[in-house]
């Protein structure tokens, strides 16, 4: 018997989609803006629909990933497998919380986050140092800048000893895989090991905050544990800040440099100050955002595009598609640095809007400003073959060989 040809529009794991998801989004948005995927999820790709869902905290709740992990853990337990460190690690992720708990968590974190002592001025010094270490005639931008820069920044803000950060970073790299839409048993195993290590590290910290920088946020959050969280719950909240603070920034810095490298005109426009740094970075975040997919579950029957969707359905929101919706953005496929901005969905919308937005923007602006003012040319030496992480939830390059010319 021959295998029937299977055609599903939802194919986020295909190599061509991983390399460039935008033609795939465009087709979805044009033909089926509300698409019932073979997996049972509803795929949403229009800007207005995504914004409505993210802004509706009554009919849509967050946390489906944590729920799934809890169920998967108890299922695995029945098979004699222990993945219990995964839900323990995710339990205080503010991203998965719903009101009223979400409000309390966010208030607790935000109070200290907004007073963090890390200022943009410090960033260019770090970039300079990192670039001095790299061989400018050819180096991997991802491992030399995109990963360490946010890592140094978040460690400083949180008050974690810098010597611990490379180890924490490698565990965080494995744990962020929980955001992947579809996992395998081998992924669960790897995530669980990393989760266990992170949990242990941060639980120790919760017990002994004296090892931390007392100006850092973690020290203050422990001192003012108004939610009366246990050490393990505190650890989970810190793991979230650590992971969220650097994985997405590292991802964006890699794609930003990729665009600057492949588009000479873009780099020249930025270097000549065609638009403000602020506007330029916002446009790059719109054009190719690091967080590509967000999930929600509806609490009641909802209607989209004339389709009735039963309660407790899973919604997958394509941020990258919404950010190129022609209904909202003229010429969406083009980077227009001084584009009159309709706020993009890059940092989400509503009560879960990214807490670390200002840090991410500062890191991107400083990097852009430093590189465009110190170098004349960026040359990409990957032979135009790029290897992307096999996951479109967070879009990032595995490596990016560049040389910088003065």
């Amino acid at each position: 018997m021959s295998v029937s040809t299977v055609f599903n529009l939802w194919r986020p794991l295909d190599a061509d989609v991983i390399a460039n998801p935008y033609p795939f989004y465009k087709q979805l948005q044009k033909e089926h803006p509300v698409y019932h995927a073979q997996t049972g999820e509803w795929i949403i790709s229009r800007y207005a629909d995504i914004k409505n869902i993210l802004g509706d905290k009554i009919r849509f709740k967050a946390g489906n990933r944590l729920q799934w992990m809890k169920h998967a853990t108890s299922y695995a337990k029945g098979k004699g497998l222990d993945y219990s460190n995964i839900p323990k690690t995710l339990q205080s992720f503010v991203l998965f919380k719903n009101p009223p708990q979400h409000t309390e968590y966010r208030k607790w974190i935000h109070r200290h986050w907004k007073e963090h002592p890390f200022v943009p001025g410090q960033i260019s010094g770090i970039i300079e140092q990192l670039l001095n270490n790299a061989i400018l005639s050819g180096f991997d931008f991802v491992s030399a800048i995109a990963k360490p820069l946010p890592l140094i920044a978040i460690s400083n803000i949180l008050g974690i000893p810098l010597k611990d950060s490379p180890q924490l970073k490698s565990w965080s790299y494995d744990v962020i895989k929980v955001m992947d839409l579809y996992l395998k048993v081998s992924d669960l195993q790897r995530i669980n090991v990393a989760a266990s290590n992170l949990l242990q590290y941060f639980t120790e910290i919760a017990k002994h905050p004296e090892v931390l920088d007392s100006n850092g946020i973690i020290y203050k959050l422990i001192s003012e544990n108004t939610l009366e969280l246990t050490d393990e719950q505190l650890a989970s909240a810190f793991i979230f800040l650590f992971i969220a603070g650097q994985e997405t920034s590292a991802a964006f810095l890699s794609t930003m440099m990729y665009h600057l490298g492949i588009d000479k005109e873009l780099f020249n426009d930025i270097a000549s100050g065609q638009a403000s740094l602020n506007a330029s970075v916002n446009e790059l975040f719109r054009f190719d955002p690091p967080v590509q997919l967000l999930g929600r579950i509806n609490t009641e029957l909802v209607e989209f595009n004339g389709l009735q969707i039963l309660p407790e359905s899973t919604f997958t929101l394509c941020i990258g598609a919404g950010n190129r919706d022609p209904e909202i953005y003229e010429n969406p496929e083009k980077i227009i640095l001084d584009r009159p901005q309709e706020t993009s969905l890059a940092f989400g919308y509503g009560i879960h809007r990214c807490l670390g937005e200002s840090m991410a923007l500062d890191l991107a602006k400083s990097t852009l400003s430093y590189i465009s003012s110190h170098y004349r040319e960026i040359k990409i030496s990957n032979n135009l073959k790029f290897e992307w992480e096999k996951n479109i939830s967070i879009r990032r390059l595995k490596s990016l060989e560049v040389s910088l010319k003065k």
Partner: protein, 83 residues
């Protein structure tokens, strides 16, 4: 072994796995029923796929479970991967 025979062998293995998973009888499992109808969900799918990868030494994308949603279709796909 001919291609069709090989596929039948794979289908039989899947039927056994499904019966095992769902505590059902082999006779009740139809190879054209969808996995969903057979009682699978997104979690049991993950473990089912792992067993298949292990048995046939193939690498399957997690989405294959949904792209080839019956025993017959998935067996055909797995067979096409076996050299």
């Amino acid at each position: 072994m001919g291609k069709d025979n090989q596929q039948i062998v794979i289908e039989r293995y899947f039927v056994k796995l499904v019966a095992n998973e769902m505590y059902g009888s082999i006779d009740e499992i139809k190879i054209d029923d969808t996995f969903h109808a057979l009682g699978f969900d997104s979690i049991s799918a993950v473990f089912f796929m792992e067993k298949i990868e292990h048995e046939y030494k193939v690498t399957l994308s997690p989405l294959c479970f949904w792209d080839y949603p019956t025993i017959r279709l998935l067996a055909g796909y797995v067979q096409s991967l076996i050299k």
